[in-house]
Symmetry: C2
Subunit: 316 residues, 2 copies
Amino acid sequence: MVERFYVGVDLGGTNIKVGICDQEGILRHKFEGPTYSEHGAEAVLARISQYVRETVERAQLQWEQVAGVGAGIAGFLNANEGVVIFSPNLVWHNVPVKQILEEHLGVPVKIDNDANVAALGEAWSGAGRGISNLVCFTLGTGVGGGIIINGEIYQGFSGFAGELGHIKVVDADEAIQCGCGQYGCVESVSSATGIVHMAKQAVQAGRQTTLCTLAEITAKDVVDAAKSGDETAMQIVERAATSLGKALSITAVILNPQRFVIGGGVVKAGEILLEPVRASFAKLTPEASVRGVDIVPATLGNDAGIIGAAGLLLRI
Amino acid sequence: MVERFYVGVDLGGTNIKVGICDQEGILRHKFEGPTYSEHGAEAVLARISQYVRETVERAQLQWEQVAGVGAGIAGFLNANEGVVIFSPNLVWHNVPVKQILEEHLGVPVKIDNDANVAALGEAWSGAGRGISNLVCFTLGTGVGGGIIINGEIYQGFSGFAGELGHIKVVDADEAIQCGCGQYGCVESVSSATGIVHMAKQAVQAGRQTTLCTLAEITAKDVVDAAKSGDETAMQIVERAATSLGKALSITAVILNPQRFVIGGGVVKAGEILLEPVRASFAKLTPEASVRGVDIVPATLGNDAGIIGAAGLLLRI
């Protein structure tokens, strides 16, 4: 029998990444090209189709070996119908991505949001390999999330399950407003944006820190300063970590997953972040919901999106 | 074809309730007898078997019509293996309930904890009928919970999914210790115990309230006083309700269920409790996770346990 392959697309506002995975979720071939989102949805979808065909060709595979194409897209989606309802960074409204790509490519297409496919990627062949029930938190500009139950993305009633960045973890008197309009969301503290916000506040408040010498502060600057022993930066990283630990704790009493996978740019901080996350989780959670549960960093990095997108095709 | 029936057992420390349900989850026959838990597990399980056989007989059914027996039991269970690991009110340790009852009765037996089976009962033929994804909060002495996904109880990795009473909702400076040892759990405020605790605190603090004339305060007293316009009691009910609303809000961003069902003795308070629960939920939750989601009281009352226990047999 001819080996079958799964194509994953990570559609960003600037670049389109295409990957080809084998049946074990191992990424065999990769391609990246510009999105040119200003050309509009039709043109972007035609470009995706072209990139997919070219990637398959370069990989010296037969088109008949392609089991299907999955795409991860940031925004509000109807994953069941394959429609992007609204994507802020692409400026798309009600685009029937599945239908259009299936017309172009003649193979089954599935779509899901970027956080969900990253979780599925880690579950399939990354830090969650072999674990059927896991929850993934992605710490980037915001805090995204994905819930994997029995090896599949859990969508909930209307597709909004796993909006983990909006778990409320911060006490009212310390809460800052989140992008969603609410107060106290974990995203407002544990994302790169939250870390930078806390750092700027500390500098403005005249706290002693090496960060005050920087013209522009990034989350990486804060982590680096913390690693160098800067007390203020250490407290900020600690606060981001303990807030995330509280979000994991709340998720654990509700869902009791076997593993938490922490991904996204912020997790590159490593153990200086993860160690207090684990400590805060263990301290705040009833013992029965801690036992046997682990908290590990994601292992696929930026490839989680294309691998997980390819993984959408596993159950069709 | 002969009609098949499902037997549900609600095993309490004082009484054993047995019910016979038809295939639609309608309770056809009911029986209740003493547990005599002081006689030990073997004797209690023999008594359950006797009650089940007698109830089937009184209902004038043939034993062959019994598809199986389900039991709801308060405590820590391994539902997959059918073992009660620890039940505080029965004082049971590692009792293989499924195995023993199957030997006695010769039909398939399943067990689960009381909060989970109550949720399944409401999903099968109560307030959640026809809804495949719902979350049930039971407000009694504690706050129990059950998560129904695709019509089935969601157990999680080690059987501790749905421990919803331990969602943290109270700010640190106002938090009281929960029975689980943690601080700020919704159970510490929104359970009958929590309401009584807040009432006693108010009386001790010399707050003006009709509750100070009572020798012993119950949650019903507090609700009745609130309904009569007692300001202090109204604030207590409001606090129990807004805390529950926050727990629903957190659950909604994680799980996005279609419906929340609120059961247990405290919900008899009715709209004086539910209206501020809905208001707090809507206020605290991103709009996408509110749309189309409703919050309704349980409808099966004390029968939810036996009906849901019977419902455990639906998927065998």
